[in-house]
């Protein structure tokens, strides 16, 4: 167990293991995304009240769910980097922010576009949407804060504190539709009760949620690999990688960057 944590802190090991994970996770993710999209958009029945506009759910819910989970991943990495001063956790935290911001942006945009035919408006300042917007600004804040510091150790510390403080927002987002009156509908997928959605609509949605989790993992690992290379540019393992047979392939048009 401890040896695994020690290995996890090693950039060359992380680079290698992430490469082997991505070789199967990336095609699997794309397969799930394509099949989930086709299933939800073309084969699921229309909603009796919202009609076909409900099909935005297949992108809106997975993006929003993963945006929230991604924030916990970023905050956990921040906590590890603060407590154990683990460099790999700093890298993970830094790479989580742009990925999480992209998912939050998609959640907000798809929500606004879905709102127009459903509520008759693109935007309302209700608790769910406003707290989601705050989440987007928190992600952007972490990105900006990291760029603002020249000393990257101090930057990582500041970002870790900001991401930990921001976790207060996550339960507020989850419970906002229950705590305050909102145009936004309550959660349709529940762990404790049976879902209010028909299984023909629910199954592609669950597939898309799993696919978006895998997409988050893929994007995070790809970003981390790039960051590990940049941070270790002058180290022996990157030089070996660059001068070794693997990278030589890149000159022949087959770069081994996965």
């Amino acid at each position: 167990m401890w040896s695994f944590f020690h290995k996890l802190g090693s950039p060359p090991w992380m680079y290698r293991i992430s490469g082997s994970i991505l070789t199967w996770l990336l095609p699997l993710t794309l397969l799930m995304l394509v099949s989930g999209s086709i299933w939800g958009l073309l084969y699921a029945p229309a909603d009796f009240r919202q009609g076909n506009s409900f099909r935005i759910i297949y992108f809106h819910v997975p993006a929003s769910v993963v945006a929230l989970a991604g924030y916990y991943v970023m905050a956990s990495a921040g906590a590890v980097s603060l407590i154990w001063k683990m460099k790999m956790a700093e890298v993970a935290m830094k790479c989580c922010a742009p990925v999480g911001a992209a998912f939050t942006f998609l959640g907000l945009l798809s929500g606004a576009v879905w709102g127009k035919p459903t509520w008759g408006t693109w935007w309302v300042w209700d608790a769910r949407i406003t707290s989601m917007l705050i989440l987007f600004f928190l992600y952007l804040g972490v990105i900006a804060l990291y760029q603002a510091f020249e000393n990257k150790t101090a930057a990582a510390k500041a970002c870790a504190v900001l991401s930990l403080v921001g976790t207060v927002n996550i339960p507020i987002i989850y419970k906002s539709v229950d705590w305050w009156y909102s145009l936004h509908q309550p959660a349709t997928i529940k762990f404790t009760e049976e879902s209010t959605m028909d299984s023909a609509m629910l199954q592609p949605l669950l597939l898309m949620i799993v696919a978006f989790y895998c997409l988050f993992a893929c994007s995070l690992l790809l970003n981390m690999r790039g960051e590990l290379l940049r941070q270790g540019a002058r180290t022996n393992w990157v030089r070996e990688l660059v001068s070794g047979g693997k990278v030589e392939k890149s000159t022949r048009g087959e770069p081994d960057v996965l």
Binding site: L26, L33, S37, L41, L42, Y43, A44, P45, A46, G51, N52, S53, R55, I56, F59, H60, A63, V99, A102, F105, L106, L109, S110, V113, W114, K116, P117, L215, C218, S219, L222, N223, R225, G226, L229, R230, A233, V238, R239, L241, V242, S243, V247, S250, T251, P255, V257, L258
Partner: protein
């Protein structure tokens, strides 16, 4: 398929504009989330490869210059010690 024709799938009873716009944006975002880090990693590796090659070339040139200077010094010394000079 739920829809009778491709036209009906595109129109989605008037909601097609909203749905397909989000589909396009989502897939553009998915593509950029996966492709951009791969491209940036590839660019970095190629840059480092070029840098390493330049460093290697500079080291080779310096070694050759040093070698030729040593040869010149040796030949100068041999000429200085040559009989009759």
């Amino acid at each position: 398929m739920y829809f009778d024709s491709v036209g009906a799938a595109l129109a989605m009873d008037g909601h097609g504009v909203y749905v397909w716009f989000i589909v396009i944006v989502s897939w553009a975002l998915i593509g950029s989330l996966l492709v951009l880090p791969i491209l940036s990693g590839r660019r970095f590796l190629l840059q480092q490869q070029g840098l390493l090659r330049r460093e290697q070339r500079a080291a080779d040139t310096a070694a050759q210059r040093e070698q030729s200077q040593q040869q010149q010094q040796q030949s100068g010394q041999e000429e200085g010690h040559a009989p009759g000079s």
